[in-house]
């Protein structure tokens, strides 16, 4: 432990530096893609305001939005202001993008953390039972259910849940409101495929761990099975479980775009869909960068935690 701590720190600093480089490259790619994208935001903006578009008005609007300046000038300015936390103003309504993103992010965070919590709470016991009672009836049932759950696209789950619970049974509201009742279906739509994937991952991780020689050693010495599983096997797998949960954050980000659109939950996913439809480029660019930063940050943090929990992981990385 003493020797691994500085190694861990070095790794973390190196990863953080890499993260910044990756983000800069990414910002360039996103910007280039926006630049080359079809559709004219100036025209879209004018028509959405009900203005009859003439050549002069269009040109003036493009000038005003700064769409006419050279590519690298625009990229440089954009990157510079982002570094100061300024994501520019929305093409749609001139509101600052940073404020819009922050408001959406808060709601998305509520929904995503609820889903992650549900997923872990369901998947941990099921995965453990499945691994410990391998090839038993419970394991078979859990494997079938998690296989099916893992194959379901979340938009489908959301539509089906909505149909059965809101329309057929009339138990829950169709549009997600702030309270727990309204959040239940969107959270479940995200959690069902995620929990299923977790169960599969936890099961195979634990089965692998149970085959380690130290487990045989402990059993041979007459250590109680429950003790072996809870104090040794599970503890040793904790690092991998943390990594697994961190990677799932990426899945949640993609999924929340779909689910928030279906349930009209005012999160960052719904915001980006609205912005895509309005060709509101500053918001889309901000979304990609924020999501990228959070995802990479969470994974960096998870790697550090996993490294502390299980120093063996450090030896397998790179």
């Amino acid at each position: 432990m003493k020797r691994s701590a500085p190694l861990l720190l070095r790794r973390a600093v190196k990863r953080a530096a890499e993260l910044i480089i990756i983000l800069i490259i990414l910002s360039f790619l996103v910007f280039a893609l926006m630049y080359a994208a079809p559709g004219d935001p100036a025209e879209k903006r004018l028509t959405s305001q009900g203005i009859v578009v003439t050549k002069e008005i269009l040109q003036a609007e493009r000038e005003r939005l700064g769409l006419l300046r050279p590519f690298f000038v625009r990229y440089g300015e954009w990157l510079g202001s982002i570094a100061r936390g300024d994501f520019g103003v929305s093409f749609k309504d001139d509101m600052p993008v940073a404020g819009k993103l922050a408001a959406g992010l808060k709601n998305t965070l509520i929904l995503s953390s609820l889903s992650l919590l549900i997923s872990l709470a369901a998947a941990l016991p099921l995965g453990i039972v499945s691994a410990v009672r391998q090839d038993g009836p419970a394991d078979h049932l859990i494997r079938v259910v998690s296989f099916v759950g893992n194959s379901l696209p979340n938009f489908l789950i959301s539509v089906l849940l909505m149909y059965f619970f809101c329309i057929r049974l009339k138990l829950l509201p169709v549009i997600a409101s702030g309270n727990l009742r309204g959040l239940l279906l969107p959270a479940l739509s995200l959690a069902i495929p995620l929990a299923s994937r977790f169960v599969r991952q936890i099961r195979s991780e634990l089965i692998g761990e149970l085959q380690e020689e130290y487990v045989t050693g402990l059993r041979a010495r007459g250590v109680r099975e429950r003790y072996v599983i809870w104090k040794n096997v599970l503890y040793n797998s904790l690092g991998h479980i943390v990594t697994m949960a961190a990677l799932a954050v990426g899945t949640l980000m993609g999924g929340s775009v779909v689910i928030e659109t279906v349930f009209r939950w005012p999160g960052i996913g719904k915001l980006v869909m609205d912005s895509i439809n309005a060709r509101d480029y500053p918001v889309i660019m901000g979304f990609v960068l924020i999501m990228g930063t959070i995802y990479m940050g969470v994974n960096l943090l998870a790697d550090v935690i996993a490294g502390i929990l299980d120093p063996r992981i450090l030896n397998t990385q790179k």
Binding site: I22, L26, P153, G250, M253, M273, G292, Y295
Partner: protein, 280 residues
């Protein structure tokens, strides 16, 4: 103590699973190919007289908001989904493998650069990239395929690269080099055949994921756009009147679930078979 099932019995069972899953997949592909012949009605003909008609003899799955036959559209949708998925996986396979082989075999600066690009792609949630790219490109089949393909090639590239790197040092490759074979020849004739099996397994497991991605993007209006029949966009279109005509949502949903289940099961079965092979 539980008596362990004998290894050969287990292998036989695994083989049966693969055969059963393959048979189901072949049936689905056949349905997709024969869709125009199997459809009882024209999937694109609208008919204002029979809007949102419940399932009946002439329209076994009912009709949608424009009076189109849902069964015919589900069948044609199989064609769209399966064709787009296979095409996309195949293209990612070829491009990724080519990049991986070149990087692994030659190494050097190109290897560093391309693997860095792959790292960047993997450092990022796939669906977020896909939604942003498809959104910026403005929807459509080509946009959705680009959006998903941008990250998919990396899997094939990494796999073939790592194999090419280990195989490069093998004596038989040295022998081929000494007998005057060129780099591309060696890659195609001596390395590729040895990498093909893991690559094909990877391709198989990508099919289900790709279907989920394509239908998800279409559901958001960023993939295949109406009137072209595709399950995701059909569900999205019919969602608004699910209360009146649930069949227009439920049948495409069932088709999607069934298809993804079959291909995922096939992928799982093959993976398990190969894993067991490595252990014995």
């Amino acid at each position: 103590m539980k008596i362990k099932r004998s290894v050969s019995d287990q292998r036989k069972k695994q083989r049966y699973r693969i055969i059963a899953a393959s048979a189901a997949a072949v049936i689905l592909i056949a349905v997709a190919l024969l869709a125009p012949m199997l459809s009882p009605n024209d999937p694109y003909r609208t008919n204002s007289a029979i809007i949102r008609h419940a399932p009946c003899a002439a329209y076994p799955f009912g009709t949608d908001n424009l009076g189109r036959c849902v069964l015919s559209r589900v069948l044609m949708g199989a064609r769209t989904t399966i064709a787009v998925t296979f095409f996309l996986v195949a293209v990612s396979f070829v491009i990724g493998t080519a990049i991986g082989l070149l990087c692994g075999y030659y190494g050097g600066r190109i290897d560093d650069l391309l693997m860095r690009v792959a790292d960047i792609m993997l450092a990022f949630p796939q669906m977020v990239i896909a939604i942003a790219v498809a959104g910026i490109l403005g929807g459509g089949i080509a946009g959705a395929m680009t959006a998903l393909g941008i990250t998919m090639w990396t899997g094939f590239a990494r796999l073939s690269r790592s194999h090419a790197r280990t195989l490069r040092g093998m004596p038989y490759i040295q022998a081929a080099l000494l007998s005057g074979k060129s780099g591309p020849y060696i890659m195609l004739h001596h390395i590729l055949p040895n990498v093909l099996e893991p690559l094909l397994t990877n391709a198989l497991t990508q099919i289900g994921t790709t279907m989920i991605g394509i239908s998800g993007l279409s559901f958001l209006g960023l993939g295949i756009v109406p009137p072209q029949a595709e399950w995701g966009s059909m569900i999205s279109e019919s969602r608004a009147y699910i209360q009146i005509a649930p069949w227009a949502v439920l049948f495409p949903a069932l088709a999607t679930i069934l298809t993804i289940l079959v291909f995922n099961y096939l992928g799982d079965a093959v993976m398990e078979y190969r894993m067991a092979e490595r252990h014995t």
